[in-house]
C-alpha cells in the first residue's frame, strides 16, 4: 500500500527554515517510520537522518512524528492512517533535515558525573542485594535518545535546565549502594537549573521509549535536594 509521508527538510546552507516535502512510500503492517525514511533515502539520497540498531536500543533515530517525540524504529505507519509528518527533534538546533545537534544534551549528561564514584580500591566484587538493585534499576534503562528533552517544555524555555535524562542518571548513581559520589552531584541538582527547573509536566515519562519514568526520578531528586537543603542549614 502506498502512503504519503511529509518530511521537514532543512539545508542550513540554502534554507532559512525547515520546509515540508512529501514522499510516497510502500507501507504494510510492519513498516516503521525508520523503514519509511530508508525508502525515502533510496529516492532522494540527500535526506539526512540518524539511525543504527533498528530495535530501540541505540537511541539514534529520535524524530518528531506528528509533533510527538518518537523513536523512528519503534513507531509504525499502521498507527497513522491519516497524515504523517516527520520532523527533527524539538528544542535542539537542526543541523540538516532530521539531524539535530545533541551536544547540549551530552553536556548536561556529563555535568552530573554519571559514573560510579568510590575511592575504595578493592579487587573483590561489589555485591548488591535485589532490594539495592531495585532502587535504581529502572533509571538505568535510559538509552540517551533525547526524546524526553524534546518533550520537556522547561528545557524548551531554558536550555540551561539539566533536563530529565541527566537528572535521572544522577539519581540512578545517587541511589546505587556502590556509589559514594552523591555529595559531588548534589550542587548541580540543587541549583535553579537542576531539579528545581522541573514543573512536573510529566510528558518526559510519557514519551520515554524505555519506560524509565524520568519524571519520577526528578521528583525523587526534589525530595533529595530539599533534605540536602535542610541538612545544610545545620552544618557550620
Amino acid at each position: 500500500m502506498s502512503k504519503t509521508i511529509n518530511i521537514a527538510r532543512y539545508n542550513p546552507q540554502t534554507d532559512s527554515q525547515p520546509q515540508l516535502q512529501a514522499f510516497q512510500v510502500d507501507s504494510d503492517n510492519s513498516t516503521s517510520v525508520l523503514d519509511a525514511l530508508l525508502q525515502v533515502q533510496q529516492q532522494d539520497p540527500s535526506l539526512g537522518f540518524r539511525w543504527s540498531c533498528r530495535m530501540a536500543i541505540c537511541g539514534s533515530c529520535g524524530v518528531m512524528v506528528n509533533g510527538i517525540p518518537k523513536l523512528g524504529c519503534k513507531t509504525f505507519l499502521r498507527d497513522y492512517p491519516d497524515k504523517l509528518t516527520v520532523s527533527a527533534l524539538a528544542h535542539f538546533n537542526v543541523e540538516k533535515d532530521l539531524i539535530v545537534d545533541m551536544q547540549p544534551f551530552l553536556t548536561h549528561l556529563a555535568a552530573v558525573k554519571p559514573y560510579l564514584i568510590n575511592a575504595e580500591q578493592s579487587s573483590q566484587p561489589h555485591r548488591q542485594t535485589p532490594a539495592q538493585l531495585a532502587k535504581y534499576q529502572q533509571f538505568a534503562n535510559c538509552i540517551n535518545c533525547g526524546l524526553c528533552y524534546s518533550a520537556c517544555p522547561q528545557f524548551g524555555l531554558n536550555p540551561e535546565f539539566l533536563g530529565p535524562a541527566a537528572i535521572t542518571l544522577a539519581q540512578r548513581y545517587n541511589l546505587d549502594s556502590r556509589d559514594a559520589g552523591k555529595a559531588a552531584r548534589m550542587p548541580e541538582l540543587n541549583s535553579k537549573n537542576g531539579v528545581w527547573g522541573c514543573t512536573f509536566v510529566g510528558f518526559c515519562s510519557e514519551v520515554c521509549p524505555k519506560k524509565v519514568d524520568p519524571a519520577a526520578a526528578v521528583n525523587q531528586g526534589k525530595v533529595a535536594s530539599a533534605s540536602d537543603f535542610i541538612i545544610s542549614m545545620f552544618k557550620p
Partner: protein
Amino acid sequence: MNDTTQAKRSDEPVWWALFSAGGVCFAVVVPGAILALALLPAFGGFSADNLSYPRISALLHDALWGLAGLAFIGSVICLPLFHAAHRIHHGLHDLKLGGGLLSKVLCYGSAAALSLLALYLIS
C-alpha cells in the same frame, strides 16, 4: 555547568515545601471545610445553629489554647495561598511573562500579606 564554579543553591526548596503542604491542604482540608461549613448546613446535614458565632468563636479562639484556630486558618487559607502563589509564579514563567525576582516577590509577597491579614482577623 563546569567543575570550577559550583552552581548556586536554589531557594526553591522553601517554596516547594510550602507548595507541597498547601497542595495537601487544598486536596484534603479545604474540601472538608467546604463540606462542613457550606454543603452540610445547606442540605440539612446538621442545624445551622452549630455554626453560631459563639460556638465558632470558641472553637477558633479557645479550643487547644487557640491552636485549633491557628491550624484551621493555616491549613485552609495560608498554605493554600502559598500553593496558589507558587503555581502563578511558575505559570508566569511558562507564559514567558515572568518567573524572575519580580514575580517571585509579587506572588509570595501577596501570599504572605494575605496570610498575615487572615491571622490578624482571627486574632
